[in-house]
C-alpha cells in the first residue's frame, strides 16, 4: 500500500512547476512534503487530487491510477483556507461530506462528532465568518476528514495555529495514522516534521532533492550538531576560534552549533573550558532536518517568512534618497 508519484512534469506557460518529480509515500504513515514556496508542492497535491493534469508522469495509489479513483479516496486541506462565510458550520460540513457521497444524516452526525473531538461543539451552529482563523482551520480540517478518506493531503496545515491548536492537530494526525490513514502534509516547521513524520521528501524547483525515512536521511547526512548553553554569554564569540565549527541557530537559552564532518563535539567543549566559561548545557544531536534542507535547497525552509538582510544606503541624505528612488526618465 503506497502512493507512488512517478516522474511528474508540469509546465504553466514557460514556467516549469514540476520537473520529473518522483517519490513514494508508504501507506499508513505521516509523510512530510517539504520545500520552499514555489517548489511545486501545491501543484503536486492538485495533480494527486485530479484537479490538475500532469503533462507527463502518473500518480498511483495501491497500483491504481489516481485519475480513476473516486474523489472520496482523498481528503484535502488547501493552503488557502476557505469556507462559505455566511453558511452555518455544521451545514457546510454536511454539504462537503455529501458531495463525497455521505448520506446527509450521517454527514451531520460525523460533523458533530468531530466538532466535539476538536473541543468546539458550540461552533456547529455558528456562521463561518464568526469564527477565529484558528477555528476556521479546524473546521476545514474536519471537512477534509469527514468522509473518512484513505489519504489526507494537507497544504501547510499548521500555519496560523496557536501552540494549543498545533498540539491538538498533531494528536489528530497520529490518531488518524493509527487508524490506517495515510497523511501527507507540507510545512516550513521542521520541528513538527521531526515530531510527526516517518518519511519525507524535500522538493526544490519541481524535483525531489532528497527523500526517504527521516531516520535514514538524518544519519546519511553524517553531520552532527551541538546544543550548548553558557552562563552569561549567549553570543559565543569565542566559537570562531574552533576550526570546522559555526553557529547554526543562535539563542539566548541554547545555541545550536554545526560541526563539519570529522570535527568532534569535544572540540567545542574544550574551547569553552579553555575560555573559562561555565557550560550549563551540552548536547550532541544528529543533523537537523532544517540543516539537511539548507544543504540541499541552499536556504532555510522558512526564509521567505523573514526579512531580507538590511543593506547600507550609500547616500545618508534622506532627500537625495527619496529622489534616487524615483524611476529614471
Amino acid at each position: 500500500m503506497s502512493l507512488l508519484i512517478d516522474h511528474l512534469d508540469k509546465r504553466f506557460g514557460t514556467t516549469v512547476a514540476l520537473d520529473g518529480l518522483a517519490f513514494e509515500v508508504p501507506g499508513g504513515q505521516v509523510f512530510g512534503f517539504l520545500g520552499a514556496n514555489g517548489a511545486g508542492k501545491t501543484t503536486t497535491m492538485r495533480i494527486v487530487l485530479g484537479v490538475l493534469q500532469a503533462d507527463r508522469g502518473t500518480v498511483t495509489w495501491n497500483g491504481i491510477d489516481s485519475r480513476v479513483l473516486p474523489r472520496a479516496t482523498w481528503g484535502y486541506l488547501p493552503e488557502e483556507r476557505g469556507l462559505y462565510p455566511r453558511m452555518v458550520v455544521v451545514d457546510q460540513l454536511a454539504y462537503f461530506a455529501s458531495l463525497y457521497g455521505l448520506a446527509p444524516d450521517r454527514a451531520r452526525r460525523e460533523a458533530l462528532h468531530w466538532l466535539t473531538r476538536f473541543r468546539v461543539p458550540e461552533l456547529g451552529s455558528r456562521r463561518a465568518e464568526e469564527l477565529s482563523k484558528g477555528n476556521q482551520q479546524k473546521i476545514q480540517l474536519i471537512a477534509a476528514i469527514l468522509h473518512d478518506p484513505q489519504v489526507l493531503l494537507m497544504d501547510e496545515p499548521f500555519t496560523g495555529l496557536d501552540p494549543v491548536n498545533v498540539a491538538l492537530l498533531r494528536e489528530a494526525f497520529l490518531e488518524l495514522r493509527d487508524q490506517g490513514r495515510t497523511l501527507i502534509f507540507s510545512t516550513h516547521q521542521m520541528e513538527t516534521v521531526e515530531a510527526l513524520c516517518e518519511s519525507i521528501a524535500i522538493v526544490d524547483r519541481g524535483r525531489v532533492v532528497i527523500g526517504g525515512a527521516v531516520r535514514d536521511i538524518r544519519r546519511a547526512a553524517g553531520q552532527r550538531l551541538v546544543r550548548i548553553a553558557v552562563e552569561g554569554d549567549h553570543k559565543l564569540a569565542w566559537i570562531d576560534e574552533v576550526p570546522g565549527v559555526r553557529i547554526l541557530r543562535p539563542g539566548f537559552d541554547r545555541t545550536e552549533i554545526e560541526l563539519d564532518v570529522g570535527v568532534e563535539p569535544d572540540a567545542v567543549l574544550a574551547a569553552a573550558i579553555r575560555r573559562g566559561v561555565r557550560v550549563t548545557h551540552f548536547e550532541v544531536v544528529d543533523a537537523s532536518l532544517e540543516q539537511i534542507f539548507i544543504d540541499h535547497v541552499g536556504r532555510p525552509p522558512d526564509e521567505d517568512l523573514h526579512l531580507a538582510p538590511s543593506t547600507e544606503l550609500s547616500d545618508p541624505n534622506p532627500a537625495t534618497r527619496i529622489a534616487s528612488d524615483e524611476p529614471a526618465a
Binding site: 490538475l52 493534469q53 491510477d65 485519475r67 480513476v68 488547501p78 469556507l83 462559505y84 462537503f96 458531495l99
Partner: protein
C-alpha cells in the same frame, strides 16, 4: 488542466449537481436580497398590470373641447351632429360646444379654456368654408380627425341641398397581409393585438431581466467561491461539470421561483382587470382583458425560452466568473455578454412594436437573441412552426457546444488567482481544458 478529462473517472451528474443546486437555491431564496427584490418586482408587475386601468382613468379626465361657430342655425345643427358622430368613432374623446360669437370662441382658445374652435360659414356661392383655430394641445392626429369630420359635414350638407343627387357612397373593403405561410399567422383585431402587445412586453422584460440578473448571480457566485477560496475544497469534492450545472440549476430555479411569485399576483390582477375597470371607471367601461392573450402555448414558450436562454447565458456567466478573482473585476468581463443580451432585448421590443422585418426575423433564430426575439414574436402571433423549430434547435445545439467550452474554461479559470491570462490562455483552456 481539467479534472473532468481524467481517464476513466466515472462521475455522473447526479447526485452532486442536485446537492449543489439545492445549496444554491436555498441560500438564494432565503437571502434578504431575494426577499427585497421579489417585493419590488412584484410591486412593479402589479403596477404594469394595473396600467391599462390607470391609463383609462387618466384618459377619461383629459378630453378635447372644440367650439363650433356657424353662420346659420341649420349649418350649426348639421355640423354638431355630423362631427359628434364621426369624432366619437375615433375614440379621441372630443366634446363639442356651441359658441355664438367667432371672436369669443377664438379668445377662449387663446385663454386655453377651449382646445380649438371651428368656424363654419356658407359662402354666397353655396360653398362651405371651415376655419380651424387651434390651441397648443392639438396634435396632428386630432387635426386630421377634425378635417375628416368637416369633410363629412360638407358631404351631408351637399346631399341635403341636392336630394336627387347622383352621389353614391363608395364601397370600402379592408385587406390585411397575412404573410407567406399558413397556420400560426392569424390576424388579430385591434384590442386583441394590443393585449398581446402588453403580454409580449411583460414577458420580454421578465425573461431579459431574469436571465441577465440571475446569470450575473451565477458569475458572482463563482467569483465569491474563488475569492473566499472555498473553490479549492469544491473542485476536489466535485467535478467542474457538476459544479457548473449544479450552480446554474440552483440559481436558475431561484429565478424561476421569483418569476412565479412576481407573476402570480399580476396575473390575478389581469384576470379581474375588466371587473376592476368597471368598478373604478363605472359600468359600461370595459377594458378587454389582457389575460385573453395568455394562452397555455405562450406560457409554455415563456417557460421553455427561459430555461434554454438561462442555460446558455448562465454557462457563459459561470465561465466568465471563473476568470476573475475579485468581484470588482466581474463587471468588466461580463459587460460584453450583457450587451449581447441587451441587443436581443432591444430587438425583441422592435418585434413587438416595429413589425417583423427581415433582420428581426433572422435575429429570432440567433441563439443568443432568440429567447427574447422569438418569444416576443410568439406573443404577437406571427411565427411559422418551422421558424420556432429552427430557433429552438439552434439554441439547444449552441447550449451543448457552449456548455463544453464553458466548463473547460471554468476548470482552468477557477485555479487562476491574481493572474491575467491572455486570450491565448482562454483558447487553450477551451481546446484542452
Amino acid at each position: 488542466m481539467n479534472a473532468d478529462r481524467a481517464p476513466g473517472r466515472d462521475e455522473p451528474l447526479l447526485p452532486n449537481a442536485g446537492i449543489i443546486a439545492r445549496r444554491e437555491y436555498g441560500g438564494l431564496v432565503r437571502s434578504r436580497l431575494f426577499f427585497v427584490s421579489t417585493l419590488v418586482l412584484t410591486g412593479l408587475a402589479m403596477f404594469v398590470a394595473l396600467l391599462p386601468i390607470v391609463a383609462k382613468l387618466v384618459d377619461r379626465e383629459s378630453r378635447t373641447t372644440v367650439a363650433i361657430v356657424a353662420s346659420d342655425p341649420e349649418l350649426l345643427d348639421r355640423s354638431m351632429a355630423v362631427l359628434q358622430g364621426l369624432l366619437d368613432q375615433t375614440g379621441g374623446g372630443f366634446d363639442l360646444v356651441v359658441v355664438d360669437d367667432e371672436q369669443d370662441a377664438i379668445a377662449r382658445v387663446s385663454d386655453r379654456e377651449l382646445d380649438a374652435a371651428i368656424v363654419a360659414v356658407r359662402r354666397p356661392t353655396g360653398q362651405l368654408g371651415f376655419s380651424f383655430h387651434l390651441g397648443e394641445t392639438m396634435g396632428q392626429q386630432q387635426i386630421t380627425n377634425l378635417t375628416v369630420g368637416v369633410f363629412g359635414v360638407a358631404v351631408v350638407d351637399y346631399v341635403a341641398q341636392n336630394p336627387a343627387s347622383s352621389f353614391k357612397q363608395p364601397g370600402v373593403e379592408v385587406f390585411r397581409a397575412l404573410g407567406d405561410g399558413n397556420g400560426g399567422s392569424q390576424p388579430f383585431d385591434a384590442s386583441a393585438f394590443a393585449s398581446r402587445l402588453i403580454v409580449g412586453a411583460v414577458f420580454g422584460f421578465l425573461i431579459f431581466i431574469t436571465i441577465v440578473i440571475y446569470g450575473m448571480w451565477v458569475a458572482q457566485g463563482v467569483v465569491a467561491e474563488k475569492s473566499s477560496r472555498v473553490m479549492e475544497l469544491l473542485i476536489s469534492a466535485a467535478s467542474t461539470r457538476q459544479l457548473v450545472i449544479g450552480k446554474a440549476l440552483g440559481i436558475g430555479l431561484a429565478g424561476a421561483t421569483q418569476t412565479a411569485i412576481v407573476l402570480a399576483p399580476a396575473l390575478v390582477v389581469l384576470v379581474v382587470e375588466d371587473a376592476l375597470a368597471r368598478l373604478v371607471l363605472g359600468q359600461g367601461v370595459g377594458l378587454g382583458s389582457s389575460i385573453s392573450s395568455l394562452s397555455p402555448g405562450l406560457l409554455l414558450a415563456f417557460a421553455g425560452f427561459y430555461v434554454l436562454g438561462f442555460a446558455l447565458y448562465s454557462l457563459i456567466y459561470a465561465a466568465a466568473g471563473s476568470l476573475v478573482s475579485r468581484p470588482e473585476d466581474l463587471q468588466i468581463i461580463a459587460l460584453p455578454l450583457s450587451i449581447v443580451a441587451i441587443a436581443g432585448y432591444g430587438m425583441g421590443l422592435l418585434a413587438l412594436t416595429g413589425g417583423i422585418t427581415g433582420f428581426i426575423r433572422i435575429a429570432s433564430y440567433v441563439p443568443f437573441w432568440s429567447p427574447f426575439v422569438m418569444l416576443t414574436r410568439l406573443s404577437v402571433g406571427r411565427v411559422e412552426p418551422w421558424e420556432l423549430l429552427l430557433s429552438v434547435s439552434l439554441l439547444v445545439a449552441t447550449i451543448a457546444i457552449v456548455g463544453v467550452i464553458a466548463i473547460r474554461i471554468y476548470a482552468a479559470g477557477v485555479l487562476l488567482y491574481g493572474q491575467r491570462p491572455g486570450l491565448r490562455a482562454y483558447v487553450e483552456a477551451a481546446r484542452h481544458g
